[in-house]
Symmetry: C2
Subunit: 453 residues, 2 copies
């Protein structure tokens, strides 16, 4: 009797700690066929190539972004049992314009610097902006040296932290200077801001991204500078205290424009009122082709729907692909989605970390649900999924209310900040197999969520 | 009492299944500093760039391969507490020569086909080789259609199996046609063999590799053809039964040449007579720059020694970097190493799967050692290591006798067969961070083996 009790305790404990046997043989067949479909047909990759080459980058409100909406509806409309619709909305519209120049003037020589206006920056107007440069590392140093800043161009020159393994963490350490550098420097009378591109690359391609003004503080122009030219500028102002930089930008903020989210869904058979979202954002910056950011997440989300549609899969819950508009500079798409949403969400997955090799998922939600889902992970190793951690699911799905689980699709991060927000973010930087594995991994997760939650 | 017994059972069971607490805080500091050193200095990447750009591919016995030996000795000699030496040996020598042409002749038109001789192939001599082509999928089909083969060129035309997740498995399904295709086809009177390149790419770059004759069977020339031209050839012979292919190759097998393995080691402080090897092969094919195959594994192994040397680490066992010569077409380097080896080997690691993102290791050895090492793996997730499976440690270390554990370093395989044995295998296809993470992961494994085994 004592032995039996002990034995039962051990068995019950083993069940707690051992996740074997959760996926059935049929599950494995279905998952294999999701992977086969993605890797054989390469639909997401062909879509991405099409949109990158034939439409190009999709800045919110731009003609290209609106063309891309029609493109997506057209592609999604071809699938059986899939309902496709738009959520109309207005988006902010910023335009880079034609002129974007900077020169370093030192010892009678004039050298062009490779720069690009940050998204949302004002232009320089008709008068020439030229001033001395003060190089700083941080807002703390700005505060300490605030007396020196007046009428100067502030140059935030921080090297990308190479030793941080997760490059999103490295990015997170520096993004504030791009986003808030102009606002903080303007407080002390700076006339413009130059931010070293936040990139792990050692080339000279400017990496842009959003910057944010505060209406109570003067607005000053802000640019990103290529990493190599950041070095040129640094060396020059160390040697020549009188060195000047001139900047000319024609970018401007224009009135809001109409745009939309695109939605495609397969109705649930048992709980149609409970939704599983798989998503990306369809807008991009105006540099490169918006291939990894976030064309990849969009075509992967579209392919999830296609993979289930192709196998005539009848989900228990409603499976919904959402292509959010305007993640980069306003998040109006996610706001509109949340405003119009009346259903419960079982789960929402966001794919916005590039189309690289799948690692797994991040998770926001209740700990018991986290533990339940975590038990599946060791069984997903054979499909390359091993990473599962709490926190950081995504910006667009972050707003959704009444959502039990929010998951961020996590591919490998090593190459992301070589391309992010730059002319490097083109289809040539996307590997077809890596992209397609991401589609399959997202579909696999949707399948598990649908069947077991 | 009963409760206590049950409780103890559970505790003991938890210890069995729970691997927590194996790595100490000091271990983690040392491992972090290995990663920091690799990612900050990028020594392996700078070395690889140097050897790729300034020396180029390193076919066994070639002048470039011998130059690379001096290069490696020179780099390794600069490290403190590191003993560097050569193991002299003779290697087979095959030369591609200047002429390498193939033409498709159909309906009065002549179209050039992109081909490259397989390593070890005889040339076509002075007479023109031109014949009709028979397309086959397998040796089984060859056997069935053997009556049709005489005086023909046999064309093994197999698509790379895209749906196989591990591309080494996919490669393994097709490699036999490249290695043994000529021998098998010659049995039935074929005059040459064309093998579709074994690659996941959809370009037209031929991917070569070793082919093996049998002295009792006539030797016939063998070439790889680019994937796009494999399609051209296929379509042409389907339409035109009289289509011919002409092949002209000046490649030849020449007398053996002198070469060497390069070894660098840090003497063990407690068990100097027990060795931990970390290794790659220093020869490559003569296409591209031999960047991933296996320049990557070599510079990573060299960097493991440098990382320990830089931190003045005193290992318990002797840590030895071996750059094996002639893995690609003879394995004379590993044979020589084994012949000269008198010590015990605690472990040997081989890195010969490219310089891509680390996943983990494969393992050959006793099951109890496998289980002991496996307990560390969950703790290595934070450094990106998650894969640990039995089988397939490596070709060069495979020969070493008296070696308790043999490990294959396993990076991600998705992009490997885009570059393998081709003009695509150049430094531009190597990502610095991915390569450096591999150095650090190999060093981490050496550290754990040294301290805990």
């Amino acid at each position: 009797m004592r032995f039996i009790f002990t034995f039962l305790c051990i068995i019950s404990l083993m069940r707690e700690v051992s996740p074997q046997g959760l996926l059935s043989d049929n599950d494995k067949i279905i998952i294999d066929s999701l992977f086969n479909g993605a890797l054989r047909q390469r639909t997401a990759y062909e879509w991405l190539k099409d949109i990158c080459v034939n439409i190009g980058p999709r800045l919110s409100g731009s003609d290209a972004s609106n063309k891309s909406l029609d493109w997506a509806v057209n592609k999604l409309n071809g699938m059986s049992n899939v309902k496709v619709y738009r959520q109309e909305l207005m988006v902010p519209y910023w335009e880079r314009g034609k002129v974007e120049k900077a020169y370093l003037i030192s010892n009678g020589n004039q050298t062009e610097l490779k720069v690009a206006a940050l998204g949302g920056s004002i232009g320089t107007g008709s008068s020439l902006l030229a001033s001395q440069v003060i190089e700083l590392k941080s807002f703390e140093e700005l505060e300490q040296r605030k007396a020196e800043v007046k009428n100067k161009i502030v140059f935030f020159n921080n090297e990308f932290p190479k030793t941080v393994l997760n490059t999103f963490e490295a990015y997170g350490q520096l993004a504030r200077y791009r986003v808030f550098g102009a606002r903080e420097a303007a407080k002390f009378g700076a006339v413009a801001v130059i931010v070293r591109s936040i990139t792990s690359s050692e080339d000279n391609v400017p990496h842009v991204g959003v910057m944010i003004y505060n209406d109570t503080i003067p607005k000053i122009p802000a640019v990103a500078i290529g990493v190599l030219d950041a070095g040129v500028l640094h060396n020059s102002i160390v040697k020549d205290k009188e060195a000047l930089v001139s900047i000319q930008l024609s970018c401007q903020i224009l009135p809001d424009r109409p745009s939309a989210n695109i939605i495609a869904e397969i109705k649930g058979t048992e709980k149609p009122e409970e939704v599983i979202v798989v998503s990306g954002h369809f807008d991009s910056w105006d540099k490169g082709q918006g291939a990894h950011d976030d064309g990849a997440g969009c075509v992967q989300s579209m392919e999830v729907i296609k993979l289930f549609s192709d196998m005539n899969y009848k989900p228990l819950h409603t499976i919904r692909c959402v292509l959010f508009m305007n993640e980069e500079n306003g998040s109006r798409g996610s706001a509109k989605y949340t405003e119009l949403s009346t259903e419960k969400h079982l789960a929402a997955i966001e794919s916005d970390r590039g189309g690289f090799l799948p690692n797994g998922f991040s998770f926001d939600g209740d700990s018991l649900l986290f533990e339940k889902l975590r038990e599946f992970i060791p069984q997903l190793n054979k499909w390359g999924v091993w990473y599962f951690q709490k926190g950081g699911s995504g910006a667009d799905i972050g707003r959704i209310k009444d959502c039990k689980m929010k998951l961020g699709y996590v591919p490998d991060s090593q190459r992301y900040f070589e391309v992010h927000h730059s002319d490097n973010d083109v289809i040539g930087a996307v590997n077809p197999r890596e992209l397609e594995l991401g589609s399959a991994v997202n579909a696999m997760m949707v399948y598990i969520l649908d069947k077991y939650f």
